[in-house]
Amino acid sequence: MRNRLAIEIAELKLTNPTMLAAGILGMTGASLREASVWGAGAVVTKSVGLKPREGYSNPTVAQVDCGLLNAIGLPNPGVSEFSEEIKEVKQSETPIPLIVSIYGFSTSEFVKVAKVAAEAGADALELNVSCPHVRDTGAEIGQNPSLVAEVVEEVKKNVLQPVFVKLTPNVADIVGVAKAAVEAGADALVAVNTVRAMAIDVETTRPILSNRIGGLSGPAIKPIAIRCVYEIYREVDVPIVGCGGVTSWRDAVEFMLAGASAVQIGTAISAKGMGVFKSVTRGISSYLKRKGFRSIEEIVGLSHRS
């Protein structure tokens, strides 16, 4: 029997449309494999750069109403050392698509990191041009369509693997950035990274995060992310991966109706545990059955048709 939940995104074959989001448990090969054991259809690594980075000091995570703030600061051992982790994932007996998230402080850094990651065995690359709390990489690039285009173009020239671009919602016009990325050759888009936000403790009068400003994730941002996916879907032809607040199958289906072919899950792991991949997948499956859809493709973007 055909798997209703199977989906192909930019050549990657997923047995189900849930992915581990970037920066969530993706620091080591062992934990990436664990996410696949728990049922993720694909995994994205922690964003890695050219050189090791410590990240910010604690507090790096703070809970707010209906969401989480984080400013971890892109800690990573550097892509060369991280290659070991990539290889470990690919050595798994039941390999699932491994997407390596990368960042760089310049286009040439992006290219260098991409090449090493590709060499080490990445099935695809996800360009993090959307981190809201590290200066000169992330959102500074992702808010500028021509910089995004430049990075995508150069990375595409240098690797054979499909390139995903992870977009920031912290822009006036996400569609403009999405189009720039696609015109430059992006094979898929991920929408969205966290929303720039902050929290201050009233008793101590201090900002809670050591970096003061961080990124908001979780249910609080789902309606924003849904809107981003909906707007982008109208204007581009590459697959979109929804991300932001997916906690239950309903959220995942909502993203798909908006135009996403798959979803990434991050913050929900803190509330639901690793079982969230299975519970979301099962829920999507019963939904498709109940409504008489034969595949995920049938519901992707369905809210646009009337």
């Binding site: 920066g23 969530i24 620091m27 080591t28 604690n58 507090p59 984080n70 051992p77 792991i269």
Partner: protein, 274 residues
């Protein structure tokens, strides 16, 4: 509204109600917090020192009206904490982690250094449930023996006993605590070994537990950021210490033997020898 994230993860600001100097380098801080009062032995909290850092600390006291942490001065955060006075405020979130599972029968509790403080609430529970407890307490030197008097005060209730080893022989037998544990295991049978302390020590306890076929529970430490199982900082093999732990069974630890006792991850994810 979905009861979205655990209520425990919300930051609370609590007043330091009392401070006790336990050893030259360890101080206990008492505070009130409803959620911590309901914590399980072995659970930990994240302690925020505004403008400085946020660090994980095991609860060394859990009672309906007050809880405590016992802090060893090792670096900036803990030094700053040691300067705090009664009446000062700290931020806390938690409790986090699984805590110890309370088994049955005759148990051995092995504490090394500051690790001992994390075992205090466990010993309290064991005593309450009338377990026969053998407490083995180790430290470099007499001065650093943590909580000895408190343990000694608890144990008579269950006809328990305490035995001490110091590396310089300044108290109890001379040598490492694992040698003492081995002696006991050679002579008697135990239903469970609980341990908390330096990882190399706990690694040796794992080997002993395997040799003597005695189940083990060990409380681990790793660098932490989120404490809620998503950032991946605290991983050991496939486990997250903040969420799947900090207490692991011997069975679990034997699956991560190449890592346990051998290396941990730095804040940037690099492997660091232990």
């Amino acid at each position: 509204m979905s009861a979205y994230l655990t209520a425990a993860n919300r930051l609370r600001i609590v007043k330091i109600e009392d401070i006790q100097q336990e050893t030259p380098t360890v101080k206990s801080f008492t505070f009130k917090d409803d959620l911590c009062s309901k914590a399980k032995p072995g659970q930990f909290i994240m302690v925020w020192i505004p403008d400085v850092d946020e660090v994980p600390m095991s609860l060394s006291g859990i009672s309906p009206h007050a809880c405590s942490i016992s802090v060893k001065k090792v670096g900036e955060a803990t030094k700053t904490l040691h300067q705090r006075k009664i009446g000062d405020y700290i931020g806390i979130r938690g409790p986090f982690g699984n805590g110890f599972r309370i088994g049955k029968g005759k148990v051995m509790v092995v504490g090394g250094g500051t690790g001992t403080t994390a075992l205090m609430p466990l010993v309290g529970s064991l005593v309450e449930e009338n377990f026969k407890v053998t407490f083995l307490l180790g430290a470099k030197t007499k001065n650093e023996l943590v909580s000895r008097d408190r343990i000694q005060a608890l144990l008579p209730k269950v006809a328990g006993r305490i035995d001490v080893a110091t590396e310089d022989g300044s108290c109890g037998s001379e040598g490492v605590i694992t040698d003492l544990a081995e002696k006991y295991l050679n002579n008697e049978e135990f239903d469970m070994i609980y341990t908390c302390g330096p990882e190399r020590m706990m690694y040796k306890m794992l080997l002993l537990s395997e040799r003597f076929q005695t189940p083990l529970q060990a409380s681990l430490e790793r660098l932490m950021r989120c404490a809620i199982g998503i950032c991946g900082t605290c991983v050991i093999g496939k486990f997250r210490v903040c969420r799947d732990g900090p207490v692991f069974t011997g069975e679990q630890l034997s699956k991560v033997k190449e890592e346990f006792g051998h290396f941990k991850r730095a804040f940037n994810g690099r492997k660091v020898k232990l």
